[in-house]
C-alpha cells in the first residue's frame, strides 16, 4: 500500500519535477571577524525541486539562515563565500549564482524575480514609512514590464490572493496598521509578486501564534501548489517540519549532518544529533504524565473575578472607551500544583500573571493568599505585607537576554532579592548564592562572571536561581521556555520539575506552546480575549478539548509526525 502510494506520483509527475531548479554543492561560508575567521557554513549541498519543500532544521547558530541568504547573495560584508557552487536552473540554461558579484545586475534580476524571500520579523521586515501597496508595486515594476496602473491593479490582486480583506483599501495602509499575521501575508504577496521559481521562507511563522501560523502555512502551501514553486523553509520547529516538508536537512555547527525524505528523518533517523533533536521534541508529547497533587485541601492562591481594563477618560473623567485585557477571571492554585495558562498573544495571559503579583493593579476582583499567616487579601495589602507576599510569589520572565542586568555579576543578580530583603552578612550571602547555583545546576565559579558569558539556557537557570533566592512558594513563569532551543527547553523544564519536588513549589506556567504545557502542567486554563474559556486537567484539554475555541487552538498545533499531519486539517474557530 505504502509502496503503491510512493510510486504513484513518480508516474504522474511531468519530467520537469525530476530536474532540480536549484542545486547547491559544497557551499562554504566564512565570517571574517576582527580576531579570527569563523567557518559558519561548511561543505553544504542540497537540491530544490519544483513544487517540493525542503526544510533546513537546526538550533540557533547552526548556520541555516546564512545559508539561505547566501543563495541570494544577501550576506553581510564580512561574510565570504569561500567555496562551492550555487546553480539556478532555468529555460535559459544554468546560472551560477556563486560567481556573480553581490551587487551585479544579474543577481538583482534573480532577487525577487526568480527567488523570493520572506523572513521572521513581520513587524520590521517592511518599511514603516511607505504604504504596503507602494512596496509591492516597486517589486512589480522592477521585474515585470508593467505600467504603474497595471502594477497597482496587480498589487490589489496579489493582496486578495493572500487573503487580505478589502485589498483596495489595505494597499494604501501602512505596516503599523496591520497585525503580525497580516504583515506576513503582505510580505508573502511581495515575495510572490513576480512569480518566482523558488521561495525562501526563513522562520516565517516563529513570531506568530499557533493559529496564525497554521493559517500562514495553509496559504503558503496553497500558493506553492498553484504555482509549482520550490520552497526552502528554515525553522527550528520540528513539528512544523513534519507538517510541511517533503525533504529535510538537519544542520549543526555549519554542516548538514543528515538529509533525506521527511519520513526517513522522522522515523529512521541515522545521525545521533537528529535523534536527540527528535527525542527532545517528541518526548514532551509522549512523556509519562505527572501525578496531579491532591486538591482536597485549601488552595494556596485564589483569584476571583479579576478584571483589568485599559482605556482613556475624557476631561470630565468619563470613560471614552475601555478594552478589557482580562475579563472576570477566576482561578485556584493548590500547593504543589502546576497550573498552565495558554492562549494567543493578546489574550491577556501576561496581564493576568502580573495582576496576581499586583505589578499591574487589578481594576476589579480579589486575590486570596493562604500563606503562613492565614488567609490574606492581596488586593488590600500594604507595603510590608505586600513585600512579604512578593517574596513568596516570584516571577520568571521570557527573555533571558533582557531580564538580567548586563552590568551586574551573576552573584549580584542572584543576591539582589536577598539584599533587598536585608539582614544577611556578606559571608551568608556568598553561601546562599553558591547553594542556589548548585540547585539550578551551575558551577559556583559562575558567581563572579557577567550574564553575557552564558548561553540562553544558562541565563534562564540564573533567572530561576534569582527567583528561588527567597524560598518562594509559588513561581509565575511567563513564557519561561519560549526563547530557548528545543533541547535546552526540555532541560529547563526538567530542572523546574526537579526543583518542585525538592522545594515544594507551585507553578503558574504561562505559555503559548501546547506541548510544553502538556508536559509540565497538571491543569490548564485556556484564555481567549481576556476570558478563561476552558479549565481542566492538562491531558484532557490537550487531547480532548471541550470548547470550540480550544479545539481550534489544539488542532492548529503542528504534530511532529509526518505520517499524522493534522495542522492542515484543523478545526477552525470563528468568533
Amino acid at each position: 500500500m505504502t509502496q503503491l502510494e510512493m510510486a504513484q506520483p513518480e508516474m504522474t509527475q511531468p519530467d520537469r519535477a525530476q530536474e532540480p531548479v536549484l542545486t547547491v554543492r559544497n557551499l562554504s561560508l566564512d565570517f571574517h571577524l576582527r580576531t579570527h575567521i569563523l567557518h559558519a557554513v561548511r561543505e553544504v549541498s542540497f537540491d530544490l525541486y519544483p513544487g517540493k519543500t525542503l526544510c533546513l532544521v537546526g538550533e540557533s547558530g547552526s548556520g541555516k539562515s546564512v545559508t539561505a541568504r547566501a543563495l541570494l547573495r544577501l550576506i553581510d560584508a564580512q561574510a565570504k563565500v569561500s567555496g562551492g557552487e550555487i546553480t539556478l536552473h532555468g529555460p535559459k540554461g544554468p546560472l551560477h549564482l556563486h560567481a556573480l558579484a553581490s551587487n551585479s545586475r544579474e543577481i538583482r534580476a534573480v532577487r525577487g524575480g526568480r527567488i523570493g524571500l520572506i523572513f521572521q520579523e513581520p513587524m520590521s521586515s517592511l518599511s514603516p514609512v511607505r504604504t504596503i501597496g507602494t512596496q509591492i508595486v516597486e517589486a512589480l515594476l522592477l521585474h515585470r514590464k508593467m505600467t504603474k496602473a497595471e502594477a497597482k491593479a496587480e498589487t490589489v490582486n496579489l493582496l486578495r490572493q493572500v487573503e487580505i480583506a478589502q485589498p483596495e483599501h489595505m494597499a494604501d495602509r501602512y505596516t503599523f496598521e496591520f497585525s503580525g499575521g497580516m504583515r506576513q501575508r503582505a510580505m508573502i504577496a511581495m515575495a510572490l509578486a513576480c512569480d518566482p521559481d523558488i521561495l525562501i521562507a526563513d522562520e516565517p511563522t516563529t513570531a506568530l501564534d499557533v493559529t496564525t501560523q497554521a493559517e500562514i502555512m495553509d496559504l503558503i502551501a496553497r500558493l506553492q501548489a498553484e504555482r509549482g514553486m520550490a520552497m526552502l523553509m528554515i525553522t527550528h520547529d520540528l513539528g512544523l517540519v513534519a507538517e510541511v516538508a517533503d525533504h529535510v536537512a538537519v544542520m549543526r555547527w555549519g554542516k548538514i549532518v543528515e538529509q533525506g525524505p521527511v519520513d526517513d528523518i522522522f522515523h529512521s533517523a541515522q545521525h545521533p544529533y537528529t535523534k536527540a533533536l527528535l527525542a527532545a521534541t517528541v518526548r514532551l508529547d509522549t512523556a509519562v504524565k505527572r501525578i496531579a497533587p491532591n486538591r482536597a485541601g485549601q488552595p494556596l492562591l485564589q483569584a476571583r473575578g479579576l478584571t483589568k481594563g485599559f482605556g482613556a477618560t475624557n476631561w470630565r473623567g468619563k470613560k471614552t472607551y475601555e478594552i478589557k485585557a482580562v475579563d472576570d477571571v477566576s482561578l485556584d492554585l493548590w500547593p504543589g500544583e502546576n497550573l498552565g495558562i495558554v492562549g494567543e498573544s493578546g489574550s491577556g495571559k501576561t496581564t493576568l500573571g502580573r495582576m496576581l503579583l499586583r505589578i499591574v493593579e487589578p481594576s476589579e476582583g480579589s486575590i486570596l493568599w493562604h500563606g503562613d499567616e492565614g488567609a490574606e487579601e492581596v488586593t488590600q495589602m500594604q507595603r510590608p505585607d505586600l513585600a512579604r507576599y512578593r517574596s513568596a510569589v516570584r516571577l520568571v520572565f521570557q527573555d533571558p537576554f533582557a531580564s538580567l542586568n548586563p552590568r551586574m555579576t551573576v552573584k549580584q543578580v542572584i543576591a539582589d532579592p536577598l539584599v533587598v530583603a536585608g539582614g544577611m552578612s556578606d559571608a551568608a550571602l556568598d553561601t546562599r548564592v553558591a547553594e542556589l547555583l548548585e540547585l539550578v545546576g551551575l558551577e559556583q565559579s559562575a558567581m563572579e562572571r557577567y550574564p553575557h558569558a552564558f548561553s540562553g539556557g544558562q541565563r534562564q537557570r540564573i533567572s530561576i536561581a534569582r527567583a528561588l533566592a527567597l524560598n518562594p512558594r509559588v513561581i509565575i513563569a511567563d513564557e519561561a521556555t519560549s526563547a530557548l532551543d528545543v533541547s535546552i527547553r526540555a532541560q529547563v523544564l526538567d530542572l523546574l520539575l526537579d526543583l518542585q519536588k525538592r522545594l515544594d513549589l507551585s507553578f503558574i506556567f504561562i505559555a503559548h506552546d501546547i506541548s510544553v504545557v502538556r508536559y509540565f502542567c497538571d491543569r490548564v486554563a485556556v484564555m481567549h480575549q481576556g476570558r478563561i474559556v476552558e479549565t481542566g486537567p492538562a491531558e484532557q484539554v490537550c487531547t480532548a478539548p471541550a470548547e470550540p475555541y480550544t479545539q481550534s487552538l489544539i488542532s492548529a498545533v503542528p504534530n511532529p509526525d509526518p505520517r499524522d499531519r493534522r495542522m492542515l486539517h484543523r478545526t477552525r474557530f470563528n468568533a
Binding site: 544577501l74 538583482r108 532577487r111 524571500l117 520590521s124 521586515s125 517592511l126 514603516p128 511607505r130 511581495m190
Partner: protein, 328 residues
C-alpha cells in the same frame, strides 16, 4: 492631518502667552530700570539730571506702574497695534529697529541651514554606508575638528583669508557702497560674497553634529530587516539605501529646522559681533546691557515666536515624512 495641524496651531497660543510673560519678566529682573542706568552713566560723565524731569519721564513711560499693568500695556500694544514700544537708547520706535535685524537674522539662518543640509546629508550617508572606511575616518576627523574649533576663531581665520587672498571687504553682510542701497544684481552678488563666511562659520558645528547623528541613525537602520527585504526585491544598492533607511534616518534633518534658529540667535552672538553682522544677537546684547527693556523684550518675544514657528514647520514636515507621527 488637518486635525493635527489645527491642534498644533491652537497649542501655540498658550505657549506664546507663556513666552511673552517670561520674556517680559526676564527683562524686568535686573534691579533698576532704564532711567537708573541712564542716571548712572550721566553721573559718570559728571552731568546732573533734574529730579522733576526724571519723575516726568517715569510717569510718561509708566515705569512706576505695577508689573502686571506694564505687561498689559506692552502686550496689548503689540497685539492690537503692532506697536513694540519705544527704544530708550536709540530714541526710535522698536519696530523700526527690529525688522531689519530680524530679516538679516532669518536670511543668515536659512542660508546656514541650507549649507548644513547640503554638506551633511551626502557625507552622513557616505559615512554610515562605508563605515570605518578611509573616507569615513576623514569625514569624522573634519567633523570633530569643526565641532571643536570655537566659532569666533574660525570667523577670524576666514576673514583674514578672504581679506588677504580675495581682497574683499570683510565683516557685515554688504560692502560699504551697498549698505542701505536699493536691491540690484550687484547688491545680491555683494551679499553672496559676504554671506559665505558667516554661513560656513555658523554652519560648521551644526554640520558636524548632523553628520554624526545621521551616521548613527543610518547605521541602526541599515541592519533592519526591511533593508534586507528591499534588497531581496532586487533593487539596486543605491535605491535600497536612498528609499528605505535614509528615508527613516532623515527625521533629525527636519527637526534641525526647529533648533537652528534659537541656536543661531543665542549661540552665535559672539560670531556675529566678530563678523559685525547686522543680526539680532549683538543688538539684543546691547539692549540687555543698557536695560533698554522694550527693545530687549521685543527681541526675546520675536525669537520665541520664530522658534515656535520653526518647531511647527519641522513638526508638520516630520508628520508628512513619517506616517507613524501622523497617525498617533
Amino acid at each position: 492631518m488637518w486635525g493635527y495641524f489645527l491642534k498644533r496651531i491652537l497649542l501655540m497660543v498658550p505657549t506664546m502667552f507663556g513666552i511673552s510673560v517670561i520674556s517680559f519678566f526676564i527683562i524686568q529682573l535686573p534691579p533698576g530700570d532704564y532711567l537708573t542706568s541712564l542716571l548712572a552713566s550721566m553721573a559718570d560723565s559728571g552731568q546732573t539730571v533734574d529730579p522733576a524731569e526724571l519723575a516726568r519721564m517715569r510717569a510718561t513711560y509708566g515705569l512706576d506702574d505695577p508689573m502686571a499693568l506694564q505687561y498689559f500695556k506692552w502686550i496689548s500694544g503689540i497685539v492690537l497695534r503692532g506697536d513694540f514700544g519705544y527704544s530708550f537708547e536709540w530714541g526710535r520706535p522698536v519696530s523700526e529697529l527690529i525688522w531689519d535685524r530680524m530679516g538679516a537674522t532669518l536670511s543668515v539662518s536659512m542660508a546656514a541651514l541650507v549649507f548644513v543640509w547640503a554638506v551633511s546629508l551626502p557625507i552622513g550617508i557616505y559615512s554610515a554606508v562605508r563605515r570605518h572606511s578611509i573616507g569615513d575616518h576623514v569625514a569624522t576627523f573634519f567633523g570633530f575638528l569643526g565641532l571643536a574649533i570655537p566659532n569666533f576663531i574660525l570667523a577670524l581665520t576666514l576673514m583674514y583669508i578672504s581679506y588677504k587672498y580675495f581682497g574683499q571687504s570683510v565683516g557685515g553682510l554688504f560692502s560699504p557702497e551697498y549698505v542701505g542701497a536699493d536691491w540690484s544684481w550687484g547688491r545680491v552678488w555683494d551679499l553672496m560674497k559676504h554671506l559665505w563666511i558667516p554661513v560656513i562659520v555658523i554652519g560648521t558645528s551644526g554640520t558636524a553634529a548632523l553628520i554624526r547623528i545621521l551616521r548613527a541613525n543610518l547605521t541602526d537602520e541599515l541592519s533592519k530587516p526591511y533593508v534586507v527585504t528591499a534588497r531581496a526585491k532586487g533593487l539596486s544598492e543605491y535605491k535600497v539605501i536612498m528609499r528605505y533607511p535614509v528615508r527613516i534616518a532623515l527625521n533629525p534633518f527636519v527637526s534641525a529646522i526647529g533648533w537652528v534658529l534659537p541656536q543661531l540667535i543665542s549661540g552665535v552672538t559672539i560670531t556675529a559681533i566678530v563678523l559685525n553682522l547686522p543680526t539680532a544677537g549683538p543688538l539684543l546684547l546691547r539692549a540687555l546691557v543698557s536695560q533698554d527693556m522694550y527693545l530687549a523684550g521685543s527681541f526675546i518675544l520675536l525669537m520665541g515666536v520664530l522658534t515656535l514657528i520653526g518647531m511647527l514647520v519641522s513638526d508638520l514636515l516630520l508628520a508628512l515624512l513619517d506616517p507613524r507621527i501622523r497617525f498617533t
